[in-house]
């Protein structure tokens, strides 16, 4: 990488200064200003914390991503030519996503663009489906289940996740394939005469994705709903509210941060999922993450892979921020 050294030294400094400035700004705006950071922790511990967090934030989070950003704007070159005269900044990788190879006759890179929007669209659907499944369960666990049942439910939810993600995906495949358990049951009971190809219809994909991130939805919801005072539900009921009204106007507004954080997690994880789409996706379904994976390992085109990954990441971030905005939530609130 050209100019690597100043970058490596300069950026942590910039980040550290930025953190200090942000901290100072926040302190000025918050009414109850406590003792300063170093006063609270002592200079030695404070310094250690600042350096450790700074190091962690920079080397584990910022630097790899920056390297990806940098790479995505470079051409694919053999190692010998890296840093050479041909190693210039270019938009080629992003252009490729939209318009495909320069030699192709089609005007748009339909295949990749379709996969991209399919991934976003299906991720939204799966997120909604996941919410619909998780909300009643989380509500029951948080508000009405007796303690003993709550324990059992939690165990039932957690234990399946001890099984590896890929194994779980294959289990769904076994269940849903043409000669699988479900089809055998359907044929045996005479409900259908032909086996149904669930996998081709992407039923397996939806199920696998929904199931894979169920906990990411249930736990934020559970936490949020659990903190709702039972009396508020009863007060609404006492004032004449039917059950759906209580959920829509009392429980959900209260649980909004939890809903947002659950949906954000599931959406992000879904859009970036690799195992479930690879194992369970129908033959006509091209998920975007396997394409990214292919850029890296089949096409050996790391810059292009980096560009694709960034396109997905940025789109997801923008989408999530827009939705949060729509629901009048700040990013800080979903971490509560």
């Amino acid at each position: 990488m050209s100019g690597g050294l100043p970058l490596i030294i300069g950026l942590p400094l910039v980040a550290a200064v930025l953190l200090v400035v942000l901290g100072a700004l926040e302190r000025r705006h918050s009414p109850a200003a406590g003792p300063g950071f170093f006063q609270r922790n002592g200079v030695a511990v404070g310094l250690y914390l600042a350096l450790a967090v700074g190091f962690w934030a920079f080397f584990i989070i910022v630097l790899p991503q920056l390297a990806m950003v940098d790479m995505s704007f470079r051409p694919k070159l053999p190692p010998s030519q890296m840093g050479g005269p041909k190693d210039v900044f270019t938009l080629e990788n992003y252009r490729y996503f939209l318009f495909g190879s320069t030699t192709s006759t089609a005007s748009w890179n339909i295949l990749h663009i379709k996969a991209f929007f399919l991934t976003i669209g299906v991720s939204i659907l799966v997120t909604l489906l996941n919410f619909a499944i998780s909300y009643p369960l989380a509500f029951h666990m948080a508000q009405s289940a007796p303690v003993a049942r709550l324990r059992v439910l939690l165990l039932l939810l957690i234990i399946p996740y001890w099984v590896n993600e890929i194994l779980r995906a294959f289990a769904f495949r076994v269940l849903l394939s043409s000669g699988g358990v479900v089809n055998k049951l359907l044929l045996g009971s005479g409900l259908t005469s032909e086996p149904i190809d669930f996998l081709a219809a992407d039923v397996g994909l939806y199920m696998g994705l929904s199931y894979a991130y169920l906990l990411m939805m249930i736990f934020p919801l559970y936490n949020a709903i659990e903190s709702l005072d039972k009396n508020q539900i009863e007060a609404a009921r006492d004032l004449g509210a039917p059950w759906w009204h209580i959920h829509a106007f009392v429980v959900m507004p209260h649980a909004k941060p939890g809903i947002a954080s659950g949906c954000t997690l599931v959406f992000m994880l879904c859009a970036g999922a690799l195992a479930a789409p690879l194992v369970l996706g129908g033959p006509r379904t091209l998920w975007f993450t396997p394409i990214v994976y292919d850029r890296f390992y089949q096409a050996f085109n790391w810059p292009q892979g980096a560009a694709y990954a960034l396109i997905l990441l940025l789109t997801c971030i923008v989408f999530v921020l827009a939705v949060l905005r729509l629901f009048r939530l700040s990013l800080g609130e979903i971490t509560r």
Binding site: D229, N231, Q232, E234, A235, A236, R237, D238, L239, G240, A241, P242, H245, F249, V250, P253, H254
Partner: protein, 358 residues
């Protein structure tokens, strides 16, 4: 007119535990009715049974003459004010008050009009747009009342609504609640463990103990004419002395006690030979070596409070009694350690049956 609320043999059990036992009661329309009892005696349970959150295990609840069996809290003509108010924090004050109307599909302009009127009624006209968290304790209280009144219930149920307020505000809210009740004219059923609250506000009081309604009557009746030892000692201060009845005559009973022979009224008609308790209010006890002295004891503590003086004393059996003297006695106050001669008029003594477990 049908009774506002009728309880007919109402029992509520949680597993083996009987929270309310055989409650029979008729509450009249427009009445300010209080349940008074110590914490854990089943008051909230009974109130939730009336509002429909709990179905009685046995017996029935009628509201306005109609049996409420199977009718949920959202379909009963009652409104409940919760112990912690349970205002909706994500709604403004006006939205809170209008919630019940919104649920009922009252059109917006009509709803706004009603909410505005209610805000004026509870002196919060300027606060409709505020968040609940911006209000003081007393203001929150009034929002809760307005929210409940908005749905025009025929019975308003209040579960210790003043317990979270400081003393001064509590006293102010007592008067205010009473005034609101007079104005709207509906039945208020009020729960409290504070006898002062019950006595000052209520038309009638039901005194509860361990799930049982022990006595129902107006404030004077439960204070001056208690029918059970529990009511005698829970409503106001009282001294209870154990003994056995030796004779009864003319509505009075003579009691043989470890500290002497004492005489008092016998309102529940106890017979000679029964174990009983004699209750004398602290303010009914007289001290001094006059002719009326019945027993003696040692003064332990003398607390001079200006208008009254409370003397704690110990009698021969080791039991402690309280004597309250009026302000006039200030010059001749006894000192701790003094031996006191104590007496009382037989009409101030009250002989009641000893409770089975006492």
């Amino acid at each position: 007119m049908a009774a506002a609320v009728e309880l007919d043999g109402v029992n509520v059990t949680f597993g083996d535990f009987v929270a309310v036992r055989d409650a029979n009661l008729v509450i009249e329309p427009g009445e300010f009715f209080s349940f008074l009892g110590p914490s854990g005696c089943g008051k909230t349970t009974l109130l939730r049974t009336i509002s429909g959150f709990i179905e009685p295990t046995r017996g029935s609840v009628r509201i306005g003459g109609k049996d409420m069996k199977g009718i949920g809290p959202n379909r009963r003509p009652t409104a409940l004010i919760f112990q912690n108010l349970a205002l909706f924090p994500m709604m403004s004050v006006a939205e809170n008050i209008g919630y019940g109307l919104r649920v009922r599909g009252v059109p917006r302009h009509e709803r706004d009009e009603k909410v505005k009127n209610l805000l004026i009624q509870v002196a919060l006209a300027e606060h409709g747009h505020k968040q609940v968290s911006e209000l003081s304790g007393g203001q929150k209280q009034r929002v809760a009342i307005a929210r409940a009144l908005a749905v025009e219930p025929s019975v308003l149920l209040l579960d210790e609504p003043l317990s979270a307020l400081d003393l001064k505000l509590r006293q102010h809210m007592r008067a205010e609640l009473r005034a609101i009740q007079k104005r709207v004219g509906i039945t208020f059923i009020y729960i409290t463990h504070d006898q002062g609250e019950a006595l000052t506000m209520s038309d009638r009081i039901a005194v509860m103990n361990a799930g049982v309604i022990e006595q129902v009557g107006n404030g004077r009746a439960v204070y001056a004419e208690p029918r059970t030892p529990f009511v005698a000692s829970f409503v106001g201060e009282n001294n209870g002395i154990r003994g056995r009845i030796t004779s009864v005559a003319n509505g009075e009973a003579v009691l043989d006690t470890p500290i002497g022979t004492l005489r008092g009224r016998n309102p529940v008609g106890l017979a000679a030979g029964q174990d009983a308790l004699l209750f004398v209010r602290p303010e009914a006890l007289r001290i001094g070596a006059g002719a009326g002295a019945l027993f003696e004891g040692e003064a332990l503590d003398v607390a001079y409070e200006g208008s009254v003086t409370h003397i704690s004393m110990r009698v021969r059996t080791g039991q402690k009694l309280t004597v309250t003297l009026g302000g006039g006695a200030a010059d001749a106050l006894p000192q701790p350690g003094d031996t006191l001669q104590v007496g009382f008029e037989p009409r101030d003594g009250l002989v009641l049956a000893k409770a089975a477990d006492a």
